[in-house]
Amino acid sequence: TNSSEEDDDVAANVAAPAASGSEAPGAPVTIGFSAPAADHGWMAAITTYAREQAEAYPEVTFNATEGTNDVNLQISQVETLINDKVDVLVILPHDGKALTEIGRKATQAGIPVINLDREFSDALAYRLFIAGNNYGMGVAAGNFIAEQMKAKGVSNPVIGEIPGIDSLPLTQERSQGFKDALTAAGLKLGPRVPAEFTVESGERAASNLLQAAPKLDAVWNHDDDQGIGVLQAIKNAGRDEFIMVGGAGSGTAVKDIAADNTVLKATVTYSPSMSASAIRLARNIGQGKGMSDLVEHEVPSRIILTSETITKENAADYKFGFAS
């Protein structure tokens, strides 16, 4: 449901400017923003958080070029922002390597670039890199499943995986982390059917996965948005002999986990709040400030978030989801 309650959550996450430290009002800053098409709850939240954070600062002008999955078009959008002479750029590239060249160009044009989530292949192309931890996410999911299996005393469990779009590097990192964690615990990965981050593809992939594996013990689904379809397919098939772990941490998933009435027992986060952080730091960079919690004069160059594991126990504390 698109209840307004989750919209409130989103708003609550955006901090109002404080009167002191790096939050003190400063000179006007224009922040340019470019991200892939918001065709997914997580990506939509990225833009929403960024926009709302920017609106919280009266001196920040937010110049967002929204959404495309075509790198060629995204490059041109960044070019437009450079033409527009913004002060700082926040870029979540559709493909980090493919947008490196334009990142470098922007940097050379004297515009500091904050590279969000998908890294440029050249550190000279950005001023700051903020990202979630895809590999860590896979590890967290793997560890949780390994724990559960051990607790249940299942030997040789059948563990399935439903990744998102398989050709994306982030998917590959997540899968790698998952596999490594399972291997470390002496477990083996079973059937794997990729979906495409959409509800429908989740349903399709899960139907096929359930068919391929008549008996399962655990499944990791990379993404809670496609998870809606996955859960429905599981319900349709009337299967409940296994546990499922979600990914990215959507509002619906957290609610389901708290209610504990589906096979979904946990989700590992990959928080879209990073875009709000990126806007704050962009403002700091634009105004030549540091971060008030660090003693450094300037904002550091790399920030990697951690992936939290949300279970029934801590679901109530988690506020930073995305609506789906």
Partner: protein, 353 residues
Amino acid sequence: MTPRNEDLGAAAGAPVADEHARIERAAAESTAPKSAFARLADSSAGRNSGLVLALVVICAIGLITKGDTFATTDNVWTILRLAAVGGVISVGMTFVIIAGGIDLSVGAIVALASVWATTTGTQDIGTFGIIFTSIVVATACGVINGVLIAYGKVVAFIATLAGLATYRGLAENLSDRKTQSIDTPSGFLDFFGAEPGGIPVLVIMFAVVAVLGWLLLNRTTFGRRTFAIGGNPEAARLAGINVKRQTVMLYALLGFLCGIATIMILARTSAGTSTHGNLYELDAIAAVVIGGTLLSGGRGTIVGTVFGVLIFQTLNNIFTLNNLTTSTQAVAKGLIIVAAVLLQQRVAKTSRS
């Protein structure tokens, strides 16, 4: 006042019995020298013999590689359930393509209808509200497409490309890009998720649509007119067929079937979202064309389309069962499609000579 033809015949003085004999002889002419096999090849099933063969070969691959899971009843239902949604749209697409048109907006229509049918307001009305909204919204989109094409004279490709952008954009605006679950307690999910006698309701729906579609195309004036305007629109117009009205009705029919598909996808995923139906247009067109319908219009069959849909879904299923990576799947799919078509041609040729 209109002279019936019988009178004319009588006036000509030719004995009726004699004429009949002549016609019969003439009709026999074309079948006479044919073998039993050739006659089969001429029948509806036979015309699709290449497709049947392709499907058989694919199933054989499935049996060989994963016999234990592939040949189970459960798996057959899985394939059919997956085929159902796209299948319903493909049946409608067959009509539009036979009429010489194309519709790129079907996926977007499903997205818009699914979002509209799952707004809180609609859900409050209950099952009926969801069904009604899906059908009405989707049919309305179809009508808009049809009117633009028939009366606005916009090329179908462009009109429905614009529709693709517009409808999906509207769906995103309406849902604010959030997935909307169906959770108003209503009989909707129970009804469409049911499996009376072990047969999933969705599969029954697909079967009913296919059969009705076949009847509509092959046994009614509507179907005949569809072939006519695809075969030669100018000739159809001069034969007194209201080409514009028929065109609108065809796109409306496809829209209506998109509405049915929306209900099915809602039942399957229990949620409406603007990402539903992504690239359905390509899948549907591919199934129709693989099924032997000409993209240039005037020729095509529903049976072929159903085979096309089944071939694609069975392939997907076998790939999944064998745990192929997406990339390998893509390569295999490409090669198998070409092989199937080449095979089909070979069969068609043999059966003709």
